[in-house]
């Protein structure tokens, strides 16, 4: 917020450029565009580019029978220069920059069409007649070069040579064989048409790529204040725009009128307060121009909450538009009306919505159906309108697929309190039958709703599963995941069906894991991990898919390493380890460490190989590697005691390369517990004791105390002296209480005799059964099926638990440490109920700490809001601002500004924000002669419950301070 001014200035630069060079939108990017197009792996990959791709590059299979024959004899002459064609394809997208290009390409295309026709010669008879005709037709438009080309084989062949100006490496004829297949007669004409099309479409594309609404930009002369506009504060702009909007000349000229409106929207987008021209904008809504209407309605939806009284004036126009003959206008008006989000609008929108539900245009019905949900939300907790709900249920049978899905969504929202929309047998079956007609969003949504349906019999269950089978192979990952979840939940009593489903979605999931979209890839990987928890061997044969690619983002690499770690088996362990070892020396320390931890995880099963790799890594003498390896070793000897010997041999020398706390702790622990097997253990510990004064981590000192005492038990002679020194230091000089206490404790323990020390300190050195470090217990599919395809696997269960805890009643620090996962390993609340848990109780107020508003922002907001509440509070004497400020801070109310003590009159401005983002702005005004404090509260979202909550908090604070005073 503080940088508002600077940002505005940035805008200005951008805008200035816009104004000064109308064609700019096109020119600077055209170069880039070309580059981009060339960088595409292949012309056709960018679908947008294909619109004008010269179509001559195709050969034609003849429809129907005989095609196969044609195809099997592909020995068609008529090679063409493939390179050139492709480059045409690439050039096409760059066309935007130069209108001549497409025509050139088209000309070329036309020319080439002749060579295309050569292929026709080899084609079986069928095409001949058509070709002749086509050639005839082609001539007039085909351009000079292609005209008069004879269909005879010889002529064509010659021409091929004539055309083949570029050297053809493979030999023209050899290439030609693989050239156009089924080159039917019409090739020639195709070329012409292609030329035509390219020629015709190019300008369209051109127009689009550039600055489509250039015409809307203010013509230089008509915008007097334009240059100074964006950064001279909004007031001038508002004034100027207001004048323009009222100007009858402007109003008379539709284009100019729309330009002014567009400028209003532009400023609104930039975050300037444009509510000042509300009246004028309302007037502008009465127009036949649908784009202008859209803009005005957008404006109204944005500012209606600020100007509810004025917005009511617009309702008339909106209502009128709701019965416009044009369904687009009807839909637009209805949608805007429902989005006004201001109190009191409900009574006006009810009738239009009801009309909309019965509208003959499905576009309007779609809007109206969602309008019901919006209306319900506006009401807040009002009771559900039964008639409306029935109407919506009946609309589930609507013709239009989107209306059907919107009905479900809307009902879900309206019936939230009652557990959402009811899916009974007829509805479920109806939806199942409509599924193929829906788009992917609709399908995913319906699949989610079907989770609620309980089939009556096994037979019905399997019928449903059969119907849905094809959705497991949908091209949309969202639908695949949705279908998978539905299968898992419906078949929760049939584990073999569940396994079967997971096998079926293996392909689609793997495909998603190598998706071009990183985010989809990431989500898929998270789900793969989830599945692996239950079916450890599930993806083992596809382990290579999870090898990391150099350019992948970090979060994908980390997920892949985790997956690799979980899918090792006897067959692939060698390859996986080799791959992971490669990652251990990656430039990114985080990634390298993750890979080492992964090897440590695999070591629990394949100990020897892994310990060997880890030992080799120590040889690199890299700090970030050594520390993680030692930590891995610590966990490993605990879980797999058989590797202790190997680990102990590897340890000497490590201490030189460990600087961080975690690594030091691990090393010291190892030295302490297994010191009898490491010859130089006492000397390593001695170094630590020597440097204990400069040691910064208390945890390391603690570990050192324990380790040294343990080592003392088995190697007393070497350790006694330094143990004494360490204890002395810890008791006499150490400043950290915990360390000192630990030192004292050990000292007293030693006084109790060596047997006592042994009894207390010597515990088992390993315990593979202890599951604390290990989290590899197989979890049944049903334990996570309800979380599948939600955010839970994507966050990871531990983080999700932390987040949902944060979202619960009390507010804690933003990030709970990951250890929280131990507490919450049980299944989370099922999704359906979660919503209600997350919703804060209406009326309960939660003020967010650290809501830092800048003074400017406060001022702006303050002036844009109406007073929501005003009251007076008895007050005696002066105010001590510091005390008050402190007290307010305790309840998370921030002080923006305050008069000095004793000022007259005394004023203070406060702000607070609750967890829904609702702002409370408060002014305190004390006029000593009246001996009362006047409180005015403004709120940016009108919600009485929270307002009352806020006022009571404020009263309590003031009451307390007042009491202290008096």
């Amino acid at each position: 917020m503080g940088s508002g001014l600077r940002d505005r200035a940035l805008w200005k630069v951008a805008l200035g450029a816009t104004g000064s060079r109308p064609g700019r939108g096109r020119s600077p990017c055209s170069g880039d565009r070309k580059k981009e197009a060339a960088a595409l792996p292949g012309g056709p990959a960018g679908s947008a580019n294909r619109a004008n791709r010269p179509p001559e590059r195709h050969s034609s299979p003849r429809a129907g029978a005989g095609a196969e024959a044609g195809h099997s004899k592909r020995a068609l002459p008529g090679a063409d220069r493939p390179k050139q064609r492709i480059s045409d394809g690439r050039r096409a997208p760059g066309r935007g920059s130069c209108a001549a290009a497409p025509r050139g390409a088209a000309g070329e295309g036309a020319g080439r069409s002749a060579s295309g026709r050569r292929s026709a010669l080899g084609a079986p008879a069928g095409g001949g007649g058509g070709r002749g005709g086509a050639a005839g037709r082609r001539r007039p438009g085909g351009g000079g070069t292609s005209a008069g080309r004879g269909p005879g084989p010889i002529g064509a062949g010659r021409r091929a040579e004539a055309l083949g100006r570029r050297p053809r490496p493979g030999g023209g004829r050899a290439l030609g064989r693989r050239g156009w297949e089924w080159g039917g007669g019409p090739r020639g004409s195709r070329g012409r048409l292609g030329a035509e099309r390219a020629g015709l479409r190019a300008p369209g594309g051109n127009r689009r790529s550039g600055f489509p609404r250039q015409g809307w930009e203010e013509p230089a002369g008509t915008a007097p204040g334009r240059e100074t506009m964006p950064y001279l504060g909004s007031e001038d702009v508002v004034k100027e725009l207001k004048k323009a909007l009222c100007n009858p000349h402007v109003q008379a000229d539709r284009l100019r009128y729309r330009n002014v409106i567009q400028r209003v929207i532009r400023h609104m987008t930039q975050g300037l307060d444009m509510s000042g021209v509300f009246m004028e904008m309302v007037k502008a809504s009465a127009t036949v121009d649908i784009v202008q209407k859209k803009l005005v309605y957008l404006y109204m939806c944005t500012y209606a909450p600020l100007k509810p009284d004025l917005a009511l004036l617009a309702i008339n126009t909106l209502c009128k538009d709701c019965s416009d003959p044009n369904p687009m206008v009807r839909g637009l008006a209805l949608r805007s009306m429902c989005s006004l989000r201001m109190p009191g609008v409900q009574e006006y929108i009810q009738q239009p919505i009801l009309n909309g539900l019965r509208d003959k245009a499905s576009y309007v019905r779609r809007v109206a159906v969602l309008g019901c949900a919006k209306m319900h939300n506006l009401h807040g907790d009002s009771e559900v309108d039964g008639a409306l709900v029935n109407e919506l249920y009946s609309l589930l049978r609507d013709q239009d697929p989107i209306v059907v899905v919107n009905c479900l969504r809307s009902l879900e929202e309206i019936l939230k309190q009652e557990g959402g929309v009811v899916i009974n047998k007829p509805i479920a079956h109806h939806l199942l039958n409509r599924m193929p007609k829906l788009d992917q969003w609709g399908q995913a949504e319906v699949l989610n709703f079907l989770l609620r349906y309980q089939p009556r019999s096994e037979e019905e269950l399997f019928d449903i599963l059969n119907l849905l089978d094809s959705f497991l192979k949908s091209s949309s990952p969202g639908v695949v995941m949705g279908a998978t979840k539905l299968f898992l939940i419906l078949a929760k009593k049939f584990p073999h069906v569940q396994t079967d489903v997971l096998v079926q979605v293996k392909g689609p999931l793997l495909a998603a894991c190598s998706s071009e979209s990183r985010e989809l890839c990431f989500a898929a990987l998270c789900h793969v991990r989830q599945i692996l928890h239950s079916l450890p061997g599930h993806f083992s044969s596809h382990y290579k898919k999870f090898f990391c690619s150099y350019s992948e983002p970090h979060y994908i690499k980390l997920q892949k390493v985790e997956v690799l770690c979980e899918l090792v088996n006897d067959e692939n362990v060698q390859q996986v380890l080799e791959e992971l070892r490669g990652y251990c020396t990656d430039v990114s320390a985080d990634f390298a460490q993750a890979a080492i931890f992964a090897i440590g995880g695999i070591a629990r099963t394949y100990t020897d190989q892994c310990v060997q790799i880890l030992t080799e890594l120590l040889g690199l003498r890299q700090e970030h590697i050594t520390t993680v390896v030692v930590q891995t070793f610590r966990d490993l000897v605990w879980l797999c005691p058989q590797c202790t010997e190997a680990v102990c041999q590897a340890l000497p020398g490590c201490e030189e390369n460990i600087q961080d706390s975690e690594g030091k702790q691990a090393l010291i622990w190892l030295l302490g517990v297994h010191g009898e097997r490491i010859p130089n253990a006492p000397y390593v510990l001695e170094d630590f004791v020597e440097n204990v004064k400069s040691e910064t981590f208390p945890a390391v000192k603690m570990e050192l105390l324990t380790a040294l005492l343990r080592l003392f038990l088995c190697r007393p002679a070497e350790c006694q002296d330094m143990l004494g020194r360490l204890l002395h230091y810890c008791i006499e000089e150490e400043k950290d209480m915990a360390v000192r206490d630990r030192g004292l404790f050990y000292y007293r323990l030693l006084l109790a005799g060596i047997d006592e020390v042994k009894r207390i300190l010597c515990s088992p050195k390993s315990d593979p059964s202890l599951g604390l470090l290990e989290d590899q217990a197989e979890r049944p599919v049903n334990s996570w099926a309800s979380d599948f395809n939600t955010l839970v696997p994507v966050y990871g269960k531990a983080r999700w638990a932390a987040i949902s805890k944060y979202q619960g009643a009390e507010h804690r620090g933003p990030e709970l440490p990951n250890t929280a996962s131990f507490a919450s390993s049980g299944p989370l609340i099922p999704e359906e109920h979660k919503e209600t848990v997350q919703e804060p109780d209406s009326g309960a107020l939660m003020l967010v700490p650290n809501c830092q508003l800048t003074a400017e922002y406060f001022e702006k907001t303050w002036f844009s809001l109406k007073v929501a509440h005003q009251q007076v509070f008895p007050w005696k004497g002066a105010v001590h601002p510091d005390t008050l400020q402190m007290a307010l801070q305790v309840v998370n109310i921030q002080t923006i500004a305050m008069s000095r003590a004793g000022a007259h009159p005394w004023k203070a401005y406060l702000s607070a924000q609750d967890d829904t983002g609702c702002l409370f702005l408060t002014e305190l005004l004390l006029e000593p002669e009246n001996s009362e404090m006047q409180i005015s509260v403004k709120q940016n979202e009108p919600r009485t419950e929270t307002l009352n909550g806020f006022i009571s908090v404020l009263e309590t604070v003031l009451g307390t301070i007042g009491d202290i005073k008096s």
Binding site: A14, T18, G25, P41, G42, A45, S47, P55, S59, S60, P61, A63, A67, K83, I86, S87, P169, G170, L175, R178, S189, R190, G205, P212, W216, L255, I265, T269, G271, I290, K294, M328, R335, R366, Q399, R409, P436, E445, S475, S476, G478, G482, S514, S517, E519, L520, A523, K545, S549, Y550, Y555, E579, G582, S588, D590, N789, Y795, E835, Q838, G917
Partner: protein, 425 residues
């Protein structure tokens, strides 16, 4: 899924344009997004999903823009990402290039589109072809009077408008296969897969019914065609556009559909059968510290002699502090691209069976820099027309429309490089 609001932010995290669909999340929440993102990035725990308080941010990055959807619900993540990507796709179809500038220039259309794409947090009309029918860019023309209602908005077949008319009825079929390859530093192939797509460009009148025949092995087995004469291909993970009747495909492997108008991707498939890498690279990169780097790269075309790979680009990594490049190539030209730290060796046409060589020599500064560098892989780009690795073929395309017109299908095959990487030691 349901998104409370959708934001488009510039690279600094400042909102360029936004739409509040549901009104249950304060629009100011977005101010937390960028700091959170930075913090996560610093921690090395960046993910496309962030949370602040009750709000979840699901974001994607496109060129210099962040597209962020906020939601309070435990939403379906992949669907939200798909939505954001679809939004990018729709915008790109309108402005060609979606970037900060095009958003600023076209904010009116962006608002219009955001309005139609989503309502109350739910995706509505996402098909750009249908959108283009009623959100046009003819900004200069005033749309007055009764504008035509797009029939599609009320259609039973949601992806195709009724009443289309073409003088000439044609269908263009592109069979494109991209080869993904990952080769270890020691030359063993770690991963090799083919991702194929069949793209159609349809110019057909009316409501035509199309049927596509491929040399699909399963189909051949079903129909008893699996003789020795017919080469067939076993497709895995076949995915279709929404228009294809999946039930028919499941029953008898018929691919039948009413196509959308214009371009679309009809189907995609995958083949994980191991194929010989089409272009094989052997490289020796010798680094003499403080003095020079010598690079020798040998490229071999391991495909049929009759085929030619076009636009071959082999990018070989070099240390970032290398200087004074010298090249020698047996064919094509090499270019040093310092900003990417690679040498790009381009060969315009590369016939199968041929073998070419490139040598490069770089100087290294005598003072070595501190930080270690990664080992980027060698990347290869190429395109082989008239050839599919899998051997997939379009056997027929039947077009039936009730008016009985004759329509012409055209086919083209291309094999291209996908993610084609060879690691260096």
């Amino acid at each position: 899924m349901s998104a409370s609001a959708v934001f488009i932010l510039d690279v600094k995290g400042k909102p360029l344009i936004s739409r509040n669909y549901k009104g249950d999340v304060a629009m100011s929440e977005i101010e937390h997004f960028m700091p959170l993102l930075m913090q996560r990035e610093e921690e090395g725990a960046l993910a496309p999903l962030l949370s602040h308080g009750r709000v979840h941010f699901l974001w994607i990055k496109h060129s210099n823009l962040y597209l962020v959807a906020t939601t309070l619900k435990n939403a379906n993540a992949s669907l939200v990402y798909s939505f954001l990507y679809k939004t990018v796709e729709v915008f790109s179809e309108y402005f060609k290039e979606l970037e900060e500038e095009s958003i600023r220039d076209n904010f009116v259309i962006v608002y219009e589109l955001l309005d139609e794409l989503m309502d109350f947090g739910f995706p509505q009309t996402m098909d750009s072809k249908i959108l283009q029918e009623y959100i046009t860019q003819q900004g200069n023309k005033l749309v007055t009077g009764k504008s035509r209602v797009p029939p599609t908005v009320t259609n039973a077949v949601s992806w195709r408008s009724e009443g289309l008319k073409y003088k000439k009825n044609e269908v263009f079929i592109d069979v494109i296969e991209s080869v993904n390859l990952l080769v270890n530093a020691n030359g063993s192939v770690l991963l090799s897969e083919i991702v194929g797509t069949i793209k159609l460009k349809v110019f057909l009148s009316g409501m035509p019914e199309l049927r596509l025949g491929l040399n699909d092995r399963v189909l051949f087995e079903l129909t008893g065609l699996s003789g020795s004469k017919n080469k067939s291909v076993e497709l895995e993970d076949v995915k279709f556009h929404q228009c294809v009747r999946l039930s028919r495909f499941d029953n008898d492997r018929t691919i039948s559909f009413i196509p959308p108008d214009g371009d679309f991707e009809l189907m995609s498939y995958r083949l994980s059968t191991q194929v010989k890498p089409l272009i094989w690279i052997e490289s020796v990169i010798e680094k003499f510290s403080h003095s020079r780097v010598e690079i020798m790269v040998k490229a071999k075309g391991q495909f049929k002699k009759q085929s030619v790979a076009n636009g071959v680009e082999i990018s070989v990594p070099v240390p970032s502090d290398a200087d004074s490049p010298r090249f020698k190539t047996s064919v094509g030209s090499a270019k040093y691209v310092p900003e990417k730290n690679v040498v790009i060796w381009s060969i315009k046409s590369f016939p199968g069976g041929k073998e070419y060589l490139m040598r490069a020599h770089f100087g290294l500064p005598s003072v070595e820099k501190e930080e270690v560098e990664g080992r980027p892989p060698i990347g290869v780009k190429f395109e082989i027309p008239y050839f599919t690795v899998s051997g997939i073929q379009v056997r027929y395309m039947k077009i039936i429309e009730k008016s009985g017109y004759q329509a012409l299908p055209w086919v083209r095959y291309i094999t291209q490089s996908g993610d084609y990487q060879l690691r260096t030691s």
